[in-house]
């Protein structure tokens, strides 16, 4: 009687809690085959776990963005952002995550992942000609960045502050812009003092209003979240190697300069601080170990004894082992694997009109990585600003047209 029930209990718990990381074909992503990654994410969206919706949509939206479909990206980043920004959690979901596996909960991302969703969504709004909603998204990202456990690191993303300042200028809010630029400089100084790879960024943050051409360049790969500890109860971040560390930009054969790091996601992930769930998982690990050891000891006693006492020891010991085995201590290690390691920027004042833009991605030694070479045709409009986003992936310039937003306080156009 008890054995089938035990099996049923195990099956139910394991079935209810098993939410795996979506199958992201990273080798395809790193080869620049974003169509394949997008197709895989659409399959995940259709057949995968509901709890992974925001994660899948973020990856899909990234692909859509770099494949030249900012409208689709805007829609999917928006949907993902609404899930990630919602603090509401049902009691059942909380119980399942605490009692069962933490990985059973709806994925809402870590603060740095929320901040990146806000960054992308903000750009999409800018490209739609809505600088106010772009700024709203960036402000949401700044708030998300503050949701970390360690208060010291709660406002240290210069990229979001700087862009929010530039959006404020486009809205005609000069005072707001100055406040954001000041925060950007403070955040950058703080981040640099605490281990970020951010540059002094004087070229960008020292003249934050400058430039009718704004280039945002993503390099490398963000860290992966991995399980540590005897029972995988600890979630830790591991950096991932990628050849591209920086970018050098040429416009019409003339070197514009190298990009400067404004957001370091390795640093952002490292400085998240602890969570209450980490304490709960550690407690569950202690319970699991104690139950298994205690259960084994009781079974051992039962095997050597006789009579009622031995039978009781066997049942209690078996129960303890059962609950020990059923206790899931594994940390939720789902993460957004296609994020870059750094987001970098370069601004320039260039003459309006068509230009040829060449981006050379550089390795740690400053050598160009030939397979990542990109050549783009861009168009800089009169009396306005143009924003472009690039990524250190091969062949993107052969797959999509450059994307730019042309916005100003008095006029709004979008050039896909």
């Amino acid at each position: 009687m008890l054995r089938p029930l035990s099996m049923l209990g195990c099956t139910l718990i394991l079935a209810a809690c098993a939410v795996r990381m979506p199958a992201v074909p990273m080798h395809r992503f790193l080869d620049g085959d974003l169509d394949a990654v997008a197709a895989a994410m659409r399959t995940e969206q259709q057949d995968g776990a509901e709890e992974n919706t925001a994660l899948v949509l973020n990856i899909l939206a990234q692909c859509e963005l770099f494949l030249g479909d900012p409208e689709a990206a805007w829609r999917d980043f928006g949907t993902a952002g609404r899930i990630m920004g919602n603090w509401q959690t049902s009691g059942g979901e909380a119980v399942a995550a605490i009692v069962g596996s933490e990985g059973s909960k709806t994925w809402k991302g870590d603060p740095y992942e929320k901040a990146m969703n806000a960054f992308y969504l903000g750009l999409c709004y800018l490209w739609r000609g809505e600088p106010d909603n772009a700024r709203a998204s960036l402000k949401r990202g700044i708030l998300a960045d503050a949701e970390i456990g360690d208060e010291k690191f709660q406002a240290d993303n210069p990229l979001l502050f700087w862009l929010a300042g530039r959006m404020s200028l486009l809205m005609g809010k000069d005072d707001d812009a100055e406040d954001f630029f000041k925060e950007a400089r403070t955040a950058n100084t703080f981040a640099r003092q605490h281990g970020s790879r951010a540059d002094d960024a004087e070229a960008v943050l020292g003249r934050p209003r400058d430039g009718n051409l704004v280039l945002l360049v993503e390099c490398g790969l963000a860290p992966a979240k991995v399980a540590h500890g005897d029972l995988d109860e600890l979630a830790r971040f591991e950096s991932r190697w990628h050849p591209a560390e920086r970018a050098r930009v040429e416009l019409d054969g003339r070197v514009l300069g190298e990009t400067v790091v404004l957001a370091d996601l390795d640093y952002q992930a490292r400085t998240l601080g602890g969570t209450e769930m980490e304490g709960i998982r550690k407690g569950k690990a202690v319970f699991k170990k104690t139950s298994l050891i205690g259960g084994a000891a009781l079974l051992h006693v039962a095997s050597r004894g006789r009579g009622d006492s031995a039978r009781t020891s066997a049942i209690v010991g078996g129960g303890l082992i059962l609950f020990g085995l059923l206790t899931s201590t594994a940390a939720d290690i789902r993460h957004w694997p296609t994020l870059p390691a750094t987001v970098q920027a370069l601004t320039a004042n260039v003459t309006p009109g068509p230009h040829t833009l060449v981006i050379e991605f550089l390795d740690a030694a400053g050598r160009a990585v030939p397979e990542l070479h990109q050549t783009w045709s861009i168009d800089v409009p009169n009396a306005s600003q143009t924003y472009y986003l690039f990524r250190s992936l091969p062949g993107l310039d052969r797959q999509a047209t450059a994307r730019a937003a042309v916005t100003g306080p008095d006029r709004t156009e979008v050039h896909p």
Binding site: L2, L5, S6, L8, G9, L12, I13, A15, A16, G81, R82, G85, N86, W87, Q88, T89, G92, E93, A94, V95, A96, A97, I98, V99, G100, E102, S104, K105, K108, D110, P111, L121, D132, N133, R135, A136, S137, K139, R140, I142, L143, A146, E147, I148, G149, M171, K173, L272, T275, E276, M277, I280, D308, R311, T312, I315, V316, G319, F323, L326
Partner: protein
């Protein structure tokens, strides 16, 4: 004799509890029509359908009762347009949904007693193209409908602002949406009203 009764019910109970907890995580989903004026169960500490409907109805009612748009010295019909909204909050929002709702409510409240002009880029471009086509004879025009594009007496616009506070597990978001009507001859603000909403969210222990 082997006495196992006190132990077995405990294990059985624990198994039932574990199964209940596990199945609670995958309970049935919701798929039903809901009242747009009811508080949104999804949450999110953001402006909801209830807020949009209430603010549009309140503003239209107040503007209509002010008499501003229906009383002119020479009994001419007032012309006005809605310029749009600016979002200064930290919540992205489709501004058009608020503006469209307000416009609809104003039409309902004031009927033919006002003239609402379409000053959107799309509207103006459509008017320009159609007028040019008619004037050039490319398309037939109704002679009785010939006239000038109307100028606007008043403009209505709105601004969404917020104040978000986060501390520990709690977050509060206060929204203030201000609507203003400005006389386009004198640049004088002739009407203003606002709508407030505040939300409180608590972060779950399972969230970071």
């Amino acid at each position: 004799m082997f006495h196992h009764r006190p132990v077995r019910p405990v294990l059985l109970g624990l198994l039932v509890l574990a199964s209940a907890l596990a199945t609670s995580a995958c309970a049935g989903t919701i798929d039903r029509r809901v009242d747009p004026d009811a508080p949104d169960e999804v949450g999110g500490a953001v402006l909801q359908s209830q807020d949009i409907r209430t603010m549009a109805e309140n503003m239209a009612r107040d503007l209509a009762s002010s008499g501003l748009l229906t009383s002119t010295a020479d009994n001419q019909t007032v012309t006005f347009h809605i310029i749009g909204m600016e979002n200064q909050s930290s919540d992205v929002i489709n501004r058009e949904i608020i503006i469209s709702k307000l416009e609809t409510q104003l039409f309902k409240a004031l009927g033919g007693r006002i003239r609402v002009l379409d000053r959107s880029g799309v509207g103006l471009e459509a008017v320009k193209r159609e007028r040019e086509a008619k004037r050039s004879g490319a398309v037939a025009g109704n002679a009785g409908k010939r006239g000038d594009v109307l100028g606007s007496d008043y403009v209505l616009y709105g601004v969404i602002r917020d104040r978000v506070q986060q501390g520990g597990k709690l977050k509060s978001a206060y929204y203030n949406v201000v609507f203003t009507v400005t006389d386009l001859e004198t640049d004088q603000k002739v009407w203003q009203n606002d709508y407030d909403a505040k939300f409180l969210s608590e972060k779950s222990v399972i969230s970071r």
